[in-house]
Amino acid sequence: MLSSPKAIAIAVFLLAVALISVLGGALGAAFGGGFLGGAVPLIQIPSELVTHIGGYKLVNTVVMFGAAMLVLVLLTWLATRKLSEVPGRWQAIMELLYEFFIGLAESTSGKTGRIFIPVATAIFLVVLFSNWLGVLPVVGTIGRVETTQEFFFHKLEKKLAEGNQTELLEGLHHDVGKNGEGLGHFIASHADSEDLQKYLGKTLETYGEQRFVVFDGGGVRILPLGRGEDYKVTLIDIAAYDIADPVHPTEEDVVKIGRRVDESVAPGPVPSSEFFTENPDKYDGFEGKRVGLLVPYLRGSSTDLNMTLAIALFAMVSVQFWGIKTLGIGGYWDKFIGNPFKRNPIDLFVGVLELVGEFIKIISFTFRLFGNMFAGEILLIAMGFLFPLIGMIPFIGLELFVGFIQAIIFSVLTLMFGAFAIMPHHHPEGDHADGAGGH
């Protein structure tokens, strides 16, 4: 196989790519390499704000959910535009899907099982495409830069709200723009307020170690390559590097912090001129750049707990609906408790557990999908960080597989819970589903 020159050339090329990827990554950084290492972006569970639409905060996971919906509309159009008894490719794929679910439903619940299909397949398709779109390369890497100012603004706002500082909050909302414009000025002008000093200190205490990435400019940015973790600076370094006790700042310190928060927004010496000149080695090359956090415009919608919770709620409400519709409200209630005075205590206890189980299922649904997809996203980021260029390749395949499996699990479990829900109550030890199982 290696006899032909072409094969040897390909092998050498692949080896070189692998070598470059190892040297360029985080591993190589320890030996003076790391030229390809991207800075690890902000990883947080809540989805990130993209923009305000009126009073509504549009977040990146909602954007991706919209994308998934568009894909499904497109798929529907492709599958049904030339509907015929001799199916085309798209129609055949969708038929395969529906036949799989119909087969499953009819094998568990007979003809009645068909009522589960629209919901189960909708869950499958929505979850599948949410998962798969989340693996696309543009997801999580292109976004807007959240400035230090904006970050500080939101965190200070949060701390003030926690401390019920309504007066300061009102001032903050009045003087500072939605993205934190003029925050430094506001801080400096309220430097004499002891409450502000206190909550500024608290903010720095909680978020001081937050690390910001250095970007070449503002606006829409791609996660910068090179320098890796070296290209980062903490909030304390930006705003309070020379303050003896940032957690309990004096009036003088607050003025300094305010000024630096505003300074860090404009392209210029970062974090601040004095700090830069005092630490020329650590912050070499930071001059003229801006610091901030990359807020991705796109993030897989199944990495948002709101999304997984919404589908879990929909699924479990549907399950209760099917149960009540098939057995009647009394019959369905009889599955759980029925008449508590006529039931033997063990049976009653099991019934109560099953009733609680219905709520547990919502939680297990929510966190199973979220956990798998969020972990997958972090795995891809970590592999891109450790072995740029090639590290992600096998894991992209893995993520596509996991995305598919999770979609199957979510939808088939919904169907199974439905099948259990429409079974009338017989024995105390039968009819209970394992809500906490799964992947």
Binding site: S47, M69, T76, E85, T121, A122, A310
Partner: protein, 166 residues
């Protein structure tokens, strides 16, 4: 809840979004596709029924053909047997008739021979009468002894016979 990023407007966004897409898929994907599946299942069932009917029909017609073939074969055999029977009967008759004819012919031949014989005997007798007359004439002419008698008769006979022969 805050650390997990769960908030009501976003949750409602997803809930509404999911409901919309679920209803959309129910109306425009699930409906048409399952209708098509059912329609095809119906079509296949019909085709299978038709095929079954056709094969049953084919089987029954094959049976009929077989039956007819068997009938024809039986009839043929019966015909052949009959023909053979008739032929043998015919041959027997023929043989019988031939034998009868032969017998008749033999009888007739025998009869003829007998008649010829009788006629011949009659003629001989008539000749004899002449010869006897002739002999009597000679006897009358010559007296005769016993020996002469016999010689005379023999000579007459010889003469008679010679006369007949010539």
């Amino acid at each position: 809840m805050d650390a997990l990023g769960i908030d009501l407007p976003r949750l409602l966004t997803f809930l509404v979004g999911f409901t919309v897409i679920a209803v959309f898929l129910r109306m425009f994907l699930y409906g048409p596709i399952t209708r098509m599946l059912d329609q095809r299942a119906e079509r296949i069932r019909d085709s299978l029924d038709a095929a079954e009917r056709a094969s049953a029909e084919a089987a029954s017609s094959a049976e009929r053909v077989e039956q007819e073939l068997a009938n024809a074969r039986g009839e043929g055999q019966a015909l052949i047997a009959e023909a053979r029977d008739a032929a043998s009967r015919l041959r027997d008759q023929e043989v019988e008739r031939t034998r009868a004819q032969v017998d008749e012919m033999l009888d007739r031949a025998r009869e003829e021979i007998r008649r010829e014989q009788e006629a011949a005997v009659e003629e001989v007798r008539r000749e004899f009468a002449g010869i006897a007359i002739l002999a009597a004439e000679r006897i009358v002419e010559q007296s005769l002894d016993e020996g002469a008698h016999r010689e005379l008769i023999d000579r007459v006979l010889d003469e008679g016979l010679d006369a007949r022969r010539n």
